[in-house]
C-alpha cells in the first residue's frame, strides 16, 4: 500500500473508520469529514479476527496512516464465552459460598422436560473459600483472614490460573475486604488480571454479580491479547492514535481501558447496530422505534424510546449465564433466513425452531442444504433475485429448491409449490411478529406506537409483512442495512454507566444521600471520559432510579432530571411512572429505592449520513432506477413487479408497491398498496396500508 494520503495538516479534517466483525463478514465503513464515504467487506477470520480487520482496512482505498480514529466492534469475547474457550481462572469466595456460581438461582433450561445441563464458568476445583464476612448493612462480622487468602491465591497460581476473581458477599455494601484481598493478591499474581466482584457493578445479588465477575476475568486475558496484537498491527501500518473498542452499552472505550471491564464487550455486537438505528432514525425525525435485525439463524430485536436505546443490566448471554452490566437491551428471537420449514406430526406446517444455519445453510446457498428454509421460499416467490443469490459454485437450480418444497411441504399439504412457499412466509412472518410483540409487551409497550427499523441481510425482506401483522404504521430501511453495525461504531459516543444499590425505603433516606451518590457517579464518569483519548463535543449526564413498591421484586426505571432531587419529588415521580406503566394507583404503599444510576456520555461530533448512498450515482426519475420487472408472489398471486436498484433511486423517490428494491447488502420488499419515500439520508420510509 502507498502512503500518499497521509494525514492532512489541517486539523479540521477527520477520518473515522468503523470495523465490525460479524459471524460471516467483517464490515468496514470510513467517514471522511471532507465528504467521502468508503465501504469494505471481507470474510471474517474466525481464529484471529485481527487478520480480517487488517484485510478490510488494507483493501480499502484509504491508507491506514491517514485515519484519525478507528472504532472496532469485536465478537472475540462473545465467542470465547459461547464456545467456552476461556482463560484458566481461579476464584476466591467467602467461606461457605464457593458454590454460589454453580448452584445458580434454582432453575432449569426449559419449563418442560426434566433434562438439561449446566456447567459453571469456573470449575469447582478452582474455587477456594477464605474466612471473612460482611453483612447486608456493610458491617464487618468476620475479619478477612489474610493468611488464608495468600495460601488460596498461591494454590490457584500453582494450579495454572492466569486470571483471578475475588467475590465476597455484600461487597456492594462494603468493598473493604474485596479491595484488601485484591491488594494482597496483586503482590502474588504475575499479571494484572484480577477482578473483584464489586468493581464491575455495585449491585446486590451474589449469583449475578459473581458470574459477571467470572466472565470478566475469564475473557480478560483473551481480549487483552487480541487488542494488543491488533494495536501493534495497526501501528506497523502507520495508525498513530489509540484504537477504540465498542462496548455492550453502545458506547466506545479506548483499547487501554477495555480489557479491565472486558465483560462489557461480550454483547457488544448487536449493541452497535441499535446505536446506529437510533442515530439514523433520529435524523429522520422518528424517535420511537423497534429495531429488527434479521440474519441467517436468528433475529435481534430492540426498543428505542425517544431516540434512546433501552439499556438493561439484567441480560443473560445463555441459560443461567447472566452478565449484569448495563447493556443495550437486545433480545434474540429464534427465526432467521435459515429457519427450516417442516410438517410436524400434527400435520401442521411449522417454521423453525431448527435452522440450517450458515452451513449447510438454505438450499439456495448451494452448500449442500436439503431442507427448505425461509430464504428458499423468498427465492421461489421472486422476492429474492435468483441470479444474485447463488454462491460461486452455482450447483443448485431453482428447480432443485422447488422440488424440495414440493416433496417436503406442498405434497403433504396438498398445495401447489407456490402456495406452499407462500405458506412458509405466512407462518414465518406470523411467528416473528408474535415474537416481536412479546419483546415489546414484556417491556410494557404496544408495538403499534413504534416504527419498525429493519436491517441485517434479511430484515428488509420481511419488515413490511411483520409491521402489517403488528399494526405498525411505518417501516424505516436505512441506506445501508447490511453494514449497520459498522455504522454504529462510527457514530457511537463515549459512555460509562454507574449503578449503586441503595435498597432502602425512600422515606428513610435523606435528600443528600441521593445527591451525593449521583454526584460521585458523575465525577467518576467525567474522570473516565477525560482519561480516554477520544475527542468529544460535550459531556452529558443521564440519571435514573430503579424503584419498586415495598413487597415487590420487579423494578421500574424512573428517569431523574436533576441530581438535587428530593425524596418527596422522587416518590411522586415514581407514582407517576407506575400509574403510566401499570394503570394502577397504589398511593398507600411505600416506595423502595433500589438503585441509583448514572450514564455519563461524551458526545462526539455529529456525522452527516447523506453520503451513505453516493448522490452522484442517483438518477433523476424512478423509471431510470428500474432495472427489471419480474413476477413476485403477493397474497396468493403472481404480480409483475418493478425491480429498482437502490443506488440509482432519485433522492426523493416515491414508490408504490408492489415493488422490490435491490442493493448489494439486502433486498427490500414493498408490498402492494404500501408506499415508500426516500429522504436526504438515503433512508426509505415505507407507509403500511
Amino acid at each position: 500500500m502507498n502512503n500518499t494520503t497521509s494525514r492532512q495538516p489541517d486539523s479540521g479534517r477527520q477520518i473515522i473508520a468503523g470495523v465490525d466483525v460479524g459471524g460471516t463478514f467483517t464490515d468496514l465503513l470510513i467517514f471522511d469529514s471532507s465528504g467521502s464515504i468508503v465501504f469494505g467487506k471481507t470474510p471474517t477470520t474466525v481464529d484471529n479476527q485481527a487478520f480480517g480487520v487488517m484485510q478490510a482496512l488494507t483493501n480499502s482505498a484509504v491508507s491506514i496512516d491517514s485515519i484519525n480514529t478507528i472504532v472496532h466492534g469485536t465478537t472475540t469475547t462473545t465467542n470465547a464465552v459461547l464456545e467456552r474457550k476461556l482463560a484458566r481462572t481461579g476464584m476466591i469466595t467467602t467461606r461457605g459460598f464457593r458454590d454460589i456460581i454453580e448452584l445458580g438461582r434454582r432453575t432449569r433450561p426449559q419449563p418442560y422436560g426434566m433434562h438439561g445441563q449446566f456447567h459453571p464458568i469456573i470449575p469447582r476445583e478452582l474455587r477456594i473459600e477464605v474466612s471473612e464476612r460482611i453483612d447486608a448493612s456493610g458491617e464487618v462480622l468476620t475479619d478477612l483472614d489474610e493468611q488464608q487468602l495468600r495460601e488460596g491465591v498461591t494454590t490457584l497460581l500453582d494450579m495454572g490460573c492466569e486470571s483471578l476473581v475475588i467475590h465476597f458477599l455484600h461487597a456492594y455494601a462494603n468493598p473493604l475486604h474485596e479491595r484488601r484481598a485484591a491488594e494482597i493478591a496483586a503482590t502474588l499474581w504475575p499479571n494484572r488480571y484480577i477482578t473483584t466482584g464489586h468493581s464491575l457493578l455495585s449491585e446486590y445479588r451474589e449469583y449475578e454479580r459473581g458470574v459477571t465477575a467470572c466472565v470478566n476475568a475469564s475473557v480478560q486475558p483473551i481480549l487483552d491479547n487480541y487488542i494488543d496484537r491488533l494495536q501493534q498491527e495497526l501501528k506497523k501500518s502507520g495508525y498513530r492514535d489509540e484504537l477504540l473498542v465498542m462496548n455492550g452499552n453502545g458506547g466506545m472505550v479506548s483499547a487501554a481501558m477495555v480489557a479491565r471491564e472486558s465483560a462489557k464487550t461480550v454483547m457488544s455486537g448487536p449493541a452497535s447496530g441499535v446505536m446506529a438505528a437510533a442515530y439514523t432514525a433520529k435524523r429522520a425525525g422518528i424517535k420511537d422505534i423497534i429495531t429488527y435485525d434479521m440474519g441467517g439463524t436468528s433475529s435481534d430485536v430492540a426498543l428505542i424510546l425517544d431516540a434512546i436505546p433501552s439499556v438493561s443490566h439484567e441480560l443473560e448471554i445463555e441459560y443461567a449465564m447472566p452478565i449484569h452490566v448495563p447493556m443495550v437491551d437486545v433480545r434474540t428471537i429464534g427465526s432467521g433466513g435459515g429457519s427450516i420449514a417442516s410438517i410436524n406430526d400434527a400435520g401442521l406446517l411449522q417454521v423453525g425452531p431448527d435452522s440450517a444455519g450458515a452451513t449447510p445453510g438454505p438450499i439456495c446457498y448451494g452448500r449442500g442444504g436439503t431442507e427448505p428454509t425461509i430464504s428458499d421460499a423468498n427465492l421461489i416467490l421472486g422476492r429474492l433475485n435468483d441470479k444474485a443469490l447463488f454462491s460461486v459454485d452455482n450447483t443448485v437450480s431453482v428447480n432443485d429448491i422447488k422440488k424440495a418444497i414440493d416433496v417436503k411441504i406442498a405434497t403433504p399439504l396438498d398445495l401447489s409449490i407456490d402456495n406452499a412457499a407462500g405458506a412458509i412466509l405466512t407462518i414465518a412472518n406470523n411467528k416473528m411478529a408474535g415474537a416481536v410483540r412479546m419483546v415489546s409487551i414484556s417491556r410494557g409497550h404496544d408495538p403499534r406506537d413504534f416504527a419498525l427499523f429493519a436491517f441485517g441481510g434479511a430484515g428488509p425482506l420481511h419488515a413490511v409483512a411483520i409491521a402489517r401483522e403488528l399494526g405498525i404504521p411505518k417501516v424505516l430501511v436505512p441506506a445501508r442495512p447490511g453494514i449497520t453495525n459498522a455504522l454504529g461504531c462510527v457514530v457511537a459516543d463515549v459512555r460509562h454507566d454507574f449503578v449503586n444499590t441503595i435498597n432502602r425505603p425512600l422515606d428513610t433516606l435523606s435528600d443528600e444521600l441521593i445527591t451525593k451518590t449521583l454526584d460521585t457517579q458523575c465525577i467518576r464518569g467525567e474522570q473516565l471520559v477525560k482519561e480516554e483519548s477520544i475527542p468529544i463535543d460535550n459531556i452529558q449526564f443521564v440519571h435514573s432510579a430503579d424503584m419498586q413498591f415495598i413487597g415487590q421484586t420487579h423494578l421500574l426505571s424512573v428517569p431523574i432530571e436533576a441530581r438535587t432531587i428530593s425524596c418527596d419529588a422522587l416518590q411522586k415521580l415514581f407514582e407517576q411512572v407506575y400509574l403510566k406503566r401499570f394503570h394502577v394507583e397504589l398511593k398507600e404503599i411505600r416506595a423502595n429505592l433500589v438503585n441509583l444510576n448514572t450514564t455519563v456520555i461524551g458526545n462526539r461530533k455529529a456525522l452527516d449520513l447523506s453520503q451513505l448512498i453516493d448522490p452522484a450515482g442517483r438518477r433523476a426519475t424512478l423509471s431510470e432506477a428500474q432495472v427489471a420487472t419480474r413476477p413476485v408472489w403477493f397474497d396468493g398471486n403472481w404480480c409483475d413487479t418493478p425491480i429498482y436498484q437502490r443506488d440509482l433511486l432519485p433522492i426523493d423517490a416515491l414508490i408504490t408497491g408492489p415493488a422490490i428494491v435491490e442493493q448489494t447488502d439486502t433486498t427490500i420488499v414493498i408490498e402492494p398498496a404500501c408506499t415508500a419515500s426516500g429522504d436526504t439520508d438515503g433512508n426509505l420510509i415505507i407507509e403500511i396500508q
Binding site: E102, H115, G116, Y204, N344, D345, G444, H554, I589
Partner: protein, 567 residues
C-alpha cells in the same frame, strides 16, 4: 380481511390452521406476560406462580394455555371452568353478562389449594359466549392459621383460609367493592392485593382484546372450526407418541413422608395400562384420605398426570385433545380425591410432584430415552416468622429450595433444579439478609447427594441459616425426607431431605422428617437443611471412568463413596 369459511364444520386450509394455532398461543402468552408484569406480589411477578388460558364455552375444556404459566397449572382450569359452567346452568351461580369476571378458589370445585385464586371471564361474540378466558394467580395470603397458607398440620380446610365459591367480583366491568371488602377482611396484608386483582383482571381483558382482533381477522366460524381441528390434531399427536410404548401394564410408586399429622408414609400407586394408542391410568393401591394437609383434590391429581406427560412429551401442544388418550379413573376413597372438608394445602406444591414422580417411575422402562430418574421433587418450603426488634416489625420469610434432578438417558441430572411443578427462581442470599434478621452461614452444593448411576443424579444443596435477633418460629413443608428420590434401571436413590434445627447447640430433627410447624428458635439458633439429590440412571458399573474421575476432582464424592458406589 376475513377468511371466514362460512359455517362450522367446513374444512379449514392448513395454513390458516397453523396461523390460528400460533395466534391462540400468543394470546395466552400475552395474558401470562401482562399478568406477571403488572402483578404486585413477587410470587406472581417474579416466581410466575400463575397461568392463563382459553376454555370452551360448552364444557370448559382447554383450548389453549400460556407457555409461560407455572407447570402445575397444566389443564387445571378446564376443571374449574367446567364446574362454573355447570353451576351457572343449574342456577347455583348468577348468569354471566358481558364484562363480568368471576372469582373462585374452592379447591373442591376444580381447584388446587386455596391460595390459587382463579378469575374467569365470559368472552362474548354477537351476544353469545364464544369461550371463557380464565387465569389463576397464587395469592401470598388467603387467611387461615398460617401466614402464606402452607400449614404443615391443618386438619380441616377452614384452618387453611377463606374459601370462595364462584361469585362475580366484576359486574359489567365494575368491581363489586362489597365482595372485595369481605375478601380483604379475611386475608393478611390485604392493602397490597388490589395490585394483584387489577393485574389479574387486566390480563383477561388483554386476552379479550386480542381474541376480538383474531375474530375480526378470521371470523368466528373459522376460529371455531380451527379450534375443533386443533384439538383433533393434538389428540392424534399424543396418540402417536403413546403408540411408541409397548402395550402392557406399567406401575410406579412414590411415597410422601407423612401428612404432617399422622406420622406414617402415604403411598401413591399409579397403574398405567397401555393398549393401542390409549393410556388408562388408575391409582388403585394408594393410601386412603389423610388427616393432614397432604390430600389432593381431583383436579390437581389429574393435572399432575398431565404435567408429568408434558415433561415427557414437551412438544405436544397443550389443549384438551392432548389429554384425550389419557383416561384417568377417579381415585375414589384415596387421598388423591379429597372431598370437603379435607385439608389440601400441600396438594399443589408437594403431592403433585410425588404423583409426577410415580408417573415417571412407571414409564421409565417404557420410554428410557425420554423419562429421567426421580428428581428431588419438593418445593422445599421453609418459613420463618418472627419479630425483628431492630426494625420494630414482624416478618415472614420463605426460603424455598431446589434439589438434584434424576440422571437421564443422555447425561447426569441437573444440580439445584427447580421443583417439578415450578419454574421460579429462589431469591438471592443478599436480598434475604437485607430483609430479614438472618445470617446464612453456608449455601453449598450438597456433596455425595446425587444417586450413583451410569448417569448420576444431580446434587441438592445444603444451607445453614442463623437467627440474628429476637425470637421466631420455624415451619417446614418439604418432602422426600423418609426415602430419597428413586434411582432407575440399576441407578441408586438420591440422598433424602434432612432438616436439623440447632437450638442452644443441640440438634433437633422433626419426627415427620420434612414437616413441622411452629418450632421456636431464638437469636443464635440455626436451621440447617440438606435438600435431596436426584436418583441415578442406569448401572453405576457402566459409568465412564473419566466421569468418575471428574466427580472426584470436583469433590462431588469422597474416595470412600466412589469405592462404595462404583465398585
Amino acid at each position: 380481511m376475513s377468511h371466514d369459511s362460512g359455517s362450522t364444520g367446513h374444512p379449514i386450509d392448513p395454513i390458516t390452521l397453523a396461523v390460528i394455532q400460533s395466534s391462540l398461543q400468543q394470546v395466552c402468552d400475552e395474558m401470562d406476560l401482562s399478568f406477571s408484569r403488572a402483578a404486585f406480589s413477587p410470587i406472581i411477578a417474579e416466581a410466575n406462580d400463575r397461568s392463563d388460558g382459553i376454555y370452551s364455552a360448552d364444557n370448559g375444556e382447554l383450548i389453549a394455555q400460556g407457555a409461560l404459566g407455572l407447570p402445575v397449572f397444566v389443564g387445571t382450569m378446564q376443571f374449574s371452568t367446567r364446574v362454573l359452567i355447570e353451576m351457572i346452568a343449574a342456577g347455583d351461580v348468577a348468569s354471566p353478562e358481558p364484562g363480568d369476571i368471576y372469582i373462585v378458589n374452592d379447591p373442591y370445585l376444580g381447584g388446587t389449594h386455596l391460595m390459587d385464586v382463579r378469575f374467569a371471564l365470559p368472552f362474548y361474540h354477537n351476544d353469545e359466549i364464544f369461550c371463557w378466558l380464565s387465569n389463576t394467580g397464587h395469592w401470598p395470603d388467603i387467611g387461615g392459621t398460617v401466614p402464606g397458607g402452607f400449614s404443615a398440620n391443618a386438619t380441616a380446610v377452614e384452618q387453611e383460609g377463606l374459601r370462595l365459591p364462584p361469585v362475580k367480583l366484576f359486574k359489567r366491568g365494575v368491581m363489586d367493592k362489597e365482595i372485595y371488602a369481605i375478601i380483604c377482611s379475611n386475608i393478611r396484608v390485604a392493602e397490597q392485593r388490589i395490585g394483584d386483582v387489577k393485574a389479574q383482571s387486566a390480563a383477561l381483558l388483554v386476552g379479550q382484546e386480542r381474541l376480538n382482533r383474531l375474530i375480526e381477522k378470521y371470523g368466528a366460524n373459522t376460529l371455531k372450526t380451527a379450534i375443533a381441528e386443533l384439538k383433533k390434531r393434538a389428540a392424534r399427536q399424543m396418540r402417536q407418541r403413546l403408540s411408541d410404548i409397548d402395550d402392557g401394564m406399567y406401575t410406579g410408586t412414590a411415597l410422601i413422608d407423612s401428612d404432617g399429622v399422622v406420622n406414617e408414609p402415604l403411598t401413591i400407586q399409579v397403574n398405567m395400562k397401555k393398549t393401542g394408542s390409549e393410556l388408562h391410568i388408575d391409582f388403585n393401591g394408594s393410601s386412603p384420605p389423610c388427616a393432614g394437609p397432604m390430600n389432593s383434590v381431583l383436579a390437581t391429581t389429574q393435572s399432575s398426570v398431565y404435567l408429568a406427560m408434558r415433561h415427557i412429551f414437551p412438544d405436544v401442544p397443550i389443549n384438551a385433545g392432548a389429554f384425550d388418550p389419557l383416561h384417568i379413573t377417579d381415585p375414589d376413597d384415596t387421598f388423591l380425591y379429597a372431598r370437603y372438608p379435607r385439608p389440601v394445602s400441600g396438594c399443589a406444591a408437594e403431592v403433585s410432584q410425588r404423583i409426577a414422580e410415580a408417573v415417571f417411575a412407571a414409564l421409565v422402562p417404557a420410554l428410557p430415552d425420554r423419562v429421567p430418574a426421580a428428581p428431588a421433587g419438593t418445593s422445599g418450603n421453609f418459613a420463618l416468622g418472627g419479630y425483628d426488634p431492630l426494625k420494630g416489625s414482624s416478618y415472614v420469610m420463605y426460603q424455598l429450595s431446589g434439589g438434584g434432578y434424576g440422571g437421564n438417558h443422555d447425561h447426569d441430572g441437573l444440580t439445584n433444579g427447580c421443583s417439578t411443578i415450578g419454574i421460579s427462581k429462589t431469591p438471592p442470599i443478599e436480598v434475604m439478609e437485607q430483609y430479614f434478621p438472618v445470617l446464612y452461614r453456608e449455601y453449598a452444593l450438597r456433596e455425595g447427594s446425587g444417586g450413583a448411576g451410569e448417569h448420576r443424579g444431580g446434587f441438592g444443596i445444603r444451607y445453614s441459616i442463623e437467627l440474628r435477633r429476637g425470637e421466631a418460629t420455624a415451619s417446614f413443608v418439604m418432602d422426600h425426607g423418609r426415602v430419597g428420590p428413586q434411582g432407575v434401571l440399576g441407578g441408586a436413590d438420591g440422598e433424602p431431605n434432612v432438616v436439623t434445627v440447632w437450638r442452644d447447640g443441640e440438634p433437633y430433627t422433626p419426627p415427620h422428617f420434612s414437616k413441622e410447624q411452629g418450632i421456636q428458635i431464638k437469636a443464635g439458633d440455626r436451621v440447617e437443611v440438606s435438600t435431596p439429590g436426584g436418583g441415578g440412571f442406569g448401572d453405576p458399573a457402566k459409568r465412564a471412568k473419566s466421569a468418575i474421575e471428574n466427580d472426584l476432582q470436583k469433590g462431588y464424592y469422597t474416595n470412600e463413596q466412589i469405592t462404595r458406589d462404583y465398585p
